[in-house]
């Protein structure tokens, strides 16, 4: 009985407890009120009544291909003429190099410049000016990750087009390089830098996404050039020739490119996941 009285008066001041006097009769009466629990049938009936209100699980619905094309086309307007012009400029540079010394310089320029073009494209496509109206966007059926991939597809498609044209020029010139290895030596850094640029954009904004991939790639180019300068005299070749042969025939470069491909794909997937969780978005 004392427990029941304590349960009633717990938390009251001592003066209030004293003023209330003996509550044993009240506590006894309240405790005597034992209501039965609802039966299994009642529980089942309630659950049946609640079923229509149960939220529908958020199962991801596959987007039809036509819808993807529509989405990509809607993102087209974000790319101003400067983006297309910069790509065209790289292509023109390739053509110019071909006229000077296509046999050696063009493949090298292709491997060095194309990844940078992709990373720059990503930094451009996800620049701060395009990151507004996040609240509104979260209310629409198109998810942030879908927008991210649609815009990325545009960047990669444009760069692929330029890369194919440059490869065609290289093939016409016919230098002593294995074309498939050259493609891999381009694809690895291109995917890795694009993935890095995208991931850093999603996580830390466009400033980091501009500095980190460019800095990383710049350092690698400088180190590669330093190696070329150290070794080309011993091999009796020019520095560019030595570097080109290394790129197209060296096993470590081949393995490194493959690993870079995997790392790039991983970063692209991670970027999609990070974009789904983040508070900002791309309109």
């Amino acid at each position: 009985m004392k427990d029941a009285i304590d349960r009633l008066t717990d938390g009251l001041d001592e003066t209030q407890r004293q003023a209330l006097g003996d509550l044993s009769a009240l506590a006894y009466l309240l405790e005597s009120d034992v209501m039965p629990d609802p039966g299994q049938e009642d529980v089942a009936r309630l659950l049946e009544a609640l079923n229509p209100y149960l939220p529908v699980p958020n199962a991801p619905r596959p987007r039809p291909p036509s819808s993807w094309l529509h989405l990509i086309r809607s993102q087209f307007v974000l790319f101003e003429s400067s983006f297309w012009l910069s790509g065209a400029l790289v292509l023109l540079l390739g053509l110019f190099i071909t006229t000077i010394d296509g046999q050696e310089l063009l493949p090298l320029a292709f491997v060095l410049l194309s990844p940078l073009l992709s990373a720059a494209g990503v930094a451009y496509a996800f620049r701060p000016e395009t990151r507004t109206l996040g609240e509104l966007e979260r209310l629409t059926a198109t998810t942030t990750a879908e927008l991210l991939y649609a815009r990325l597809a545009l960047v990669l498609a444009f760069n692929l087009l330029i890369a194919l044209l440059l490869l065609f020029l290289i093939w016409l010139e016919g230098p002593q390089v294995l074309l498939w290895r050259l493609v891999l030596a381009w694809l690895g850094p291109m995917l890795a830098l694009t993935g890095l640029a995208l991931f850093t954009t999603v996580r830390w904004g466009s400033l980091v996404s501009s500095l980190l991939p460019f800095g990383l790639w710049g350092s690698m180019v400088l180190l590669g050039w330093r190696e070329a300068l150290l070794h080309h005299i011993a091999s009796g070749m020019t520095a560019t020739s030595w570097l080109l042969i290394e790129i197209s025939r060296s096993t470590p470069v081949l393995i490194g490119s493959m690993l870079a491909c995997l790392a790039g794909i991983g970063l692209l997937i991670l970027s999609g996941r990070a974009a789904s969780c983040e508070r900002q978005s791309w309109n």
Binding site: L12, L29, D33, P38, V43, L46, L47, N58
Partner: protein, 198 residues
Amino acid sequence: MAVQFGGVYLESDEQLYIRVRGGDRTALAGLVERYHGPLLKFLARMTGQTQSAEDMVQDTFIRILTCRGVPPEHFRPWIYQIARNLARDYFRSAAFRRETFYLPDEDQGDDWMAAPVETESLALQSSDCVQVNALLQCLPARQREVILLRFYQEFSLEEISTITGAPLGTVKSRLFHGLRRARMILEQEEVNQDERCH
């Protein structure tokens, strides 16, 4: 935080509710199993009407299922807050006013309260359960809810303050006045019974 029960780790109410929001039927069954009975008893004692209490329990669960806000940090006080608000709406409803001949003039500001039962009627109740129900209905609803939440649901006064939205001092005051009033009614009832016997 998971709760240990009989050596088995059970999911906390909050974890279950997050799963319910994801459309998990099993989690909903778990929450219903935990709260159907306690809510029904609370609302039945609060309103004195078992049928209305059952409807309100269903409405409480519908509200938590259709809620689109941020999941609550503490589920138990939250679900009781919803149930308590539904009981308040019930007391303000036209149906209740019709049944109890409730007049708007009796409403003292926001002080919603059930029309008190005449104390003499307590003597006519045969079983203890019915007598408790009659006694509770004699108390103003604000005092009744504090006593119910404290005695039967074993909420702390701080939690009751959160559920009712009243300051802690007010909750203490309601508990004190409610208990004093209930005690006086019981004493009066004993006197009445003695007089009837003589």
